[in-house]
Amino acid sequence: MVGLREVSAFHHDVLPDGRPLTVQEREDILRPYLPRPPRTSSLAKAPASTARRTSTKPHRRKPMRDFLKNQLHVLVYTAIHTLFSIYVRLRRACHAIIDRVFAILYYHHRTPELIKKDVKGLSRLPQHLSVILDFNEDGHNGSGLEDLVNDVCEIAAWSASAGIPILSIYERTGVLKNYIPQTHRSIFRTFQAYFGRHKPTLSLRAPHLPSFSPPSSPSAGSTPGHLSILLLSADDGRNTLVDLTKTLAEMSQRGKISPADISPELIDAEISESVMGEPDLLILFGPDVELKGYPPWQIRLTEIFHVQDNTSVGYQVFLRALHRFAKAQMRLGR
């Protein structure tokens, strides 16, 4: 920390009595806070800089002192990490308790009306919601896939109840893309459990695969809305951009376009048509924010939500994310 007078002199480049600071005076202010010059560079530039570096002594080797310093550092390091382990375990326990309390308070009882009541007070809802899920491959014979499909059904039901029209689900390995009809059936059954007769219509698709929405007789009453679900995997991230580059390179080699024609708008149009548009809100159900290969282009202005130390897909995380989204301000650079 620097003295107040020096701080204001440094800021405004003017000494308290009105004279402008010279280069030498500015260096004098900074000198006590700088690291010692490294040995190699001081040797290389010895003649030119000895005049300037009169205040710094050459670094004499003090092996005993270095050894003690090293041991002190090791001690402090182990102390910090031990304390941190204890702190993290306490934090996880606290968060687990709070999550359980929230889960009980905000249980949805599988009734869409309750969910709608929960979101009624929000000033705005995301039009396109995105979720990152983890596929637990180590689960014994297929239970990982079952859990994943369960999570997908639940999230789809909550989004449909809250009135969110588009939902995209990212899962790194893309295993769900091989089971689209089964997933559709499971979601349909979940909708029946939640909504009964007046289910919203559902369409499930993955990029570059045909859309799957079996013909269903429209109900005579009001149309409760439509939910379209998009399944994404790691291929839809970087690899889509690489494919686009390959296509553009071929077109350029044939002389159909020139490299100067490539603009962000062109790439944006191509990518949003081929994969998906920009999501408004991204919910992560893991303990940390790690994007795990999520498509990079679309996530530019997406609000990212996660709960620290959370490990499972729960309705209260979903609700808190929506509340957080309603409060967020979009300044767009201004």
């Binding site: 920390m1 003295g3 480049d13 280069v23 500015r26 900074l30 700088l34 690291p35 010692r36 010059p37 490294p38 560079s41 530039k45 800089s49 002190l72 550092h73 090791v74 402090v76 390091y77 910090i80 990490h81 941190f84 993290v88 970087r238 690899n239 951009l241 690489v242 686009l244 580059t245 390959k246 390179a249 071929e250 350029s252 080699q253 044939r254 490299p259 490539i262 962000p264 790439i267 944006d268 940390d288 924010v289 790690e290 994007l291 795990k292 290969g293 498509p295 990079p296 282009w297 530019r300 202005l301 997406t302 609000e303 990212i304 939500f305 957080r324 967020a328 767009l332 650079g333 201004r334």
Partner: protein
Amino acid sequence: MSSAHLTQVRKWVFQSPPAEWAIQQLRELLIGALRLGPVPQHVAFVMDGNRRYARNHQIETVEGHNLGFEALARILEVCYKSGVKVVTIYAFSIENFKRSRYEVDALMDMAKVKLSQLAQHGDLLDRYGASIRILGQRELVKPDVLDAIDRAVALTSGNDRAILNVCFPYTSRDEITTAIRGTVADYSKPFKPALKRPFSETHITRNIRSRQLSIVSEEPLALRSTSDTASSVDADADDSASASTTPNPSSSTSVTNKNPFEDNSNPPDFEPSKSAVSNYPDPETITSETLSDHMSTAGTPPLDLLVRTSGVERLSDFMLWQCHQDTSIVFLECLWPEFDLWQFLPVLVEWQWQRKKALEREALSVKAQKRDVKLQ
């Protein structure tokens, strides 16, 4: 400048020389201790919250930006002392040009003043061994600011121990577009024609054919097909060379005996079966590494940690390509001018802890694999 919060007495206590010395020693100790564990190689900061800080403390916005610059200097010192190799900061976004003209001009002036101050203290930068790089679209910046930038970059270009990437003015989508454009431009350059050697291939093949017409064998067919394709390709390249050298047929028999094999061993560098695009590099060889190498952060280690202050939980067009794989993204509530070692330390310790756990898990799985291999 957390002293803005403190009352007068506390301020006096904390700024007295013994307290200052003690705090300085404590900082050195903590940073030295953390160096012993895994340290992120590449850290990115989004410096958000200057204006909110200025509003909260009833000072001018420009003063808020000045304090933000000081916070940046403090954090850079912490990072470089801990052993971070590359620090990337988000100084100015292309979207920020939409702000009021007064503020944009003030920011540009501040950049110019700080950079020219930097240029005057050359050897102070050398102590940290950091070289400055400016990423972003240079065309949108005024020429006098560009001059200051170029001078600062040239001054520090000799340092190689650490890198400071200043994103000014920068948008990640713009960076990705530039990388794609660069890759496409690279792949649109045709291969250069083969070097001109003094021997003309058409002359050689004519020689061989004339001599082998007398000797009946199957080889001329194979030779003729390859030499046909070779000659058709190198025709324009060697037309000028064919007239220059006319070696005596009798004396060059030994030479021509060797040359057909030489001819075949230097095949044309494309398949003749393809059409006109055949003398361009194959676009199928473009991978995500190619694109990464064309980004402005090419040559730097992958991004390990991204920190955003002021509680906003968005990426706002920063490092989208670099951070979407394994980067730990941390959102902090404090505002950027208050950001100091005490806020950054928990983030760093948590990152170290997670990295240590990941390394332990990997070591365990490697051991388990080795055990399985031994059992088999």
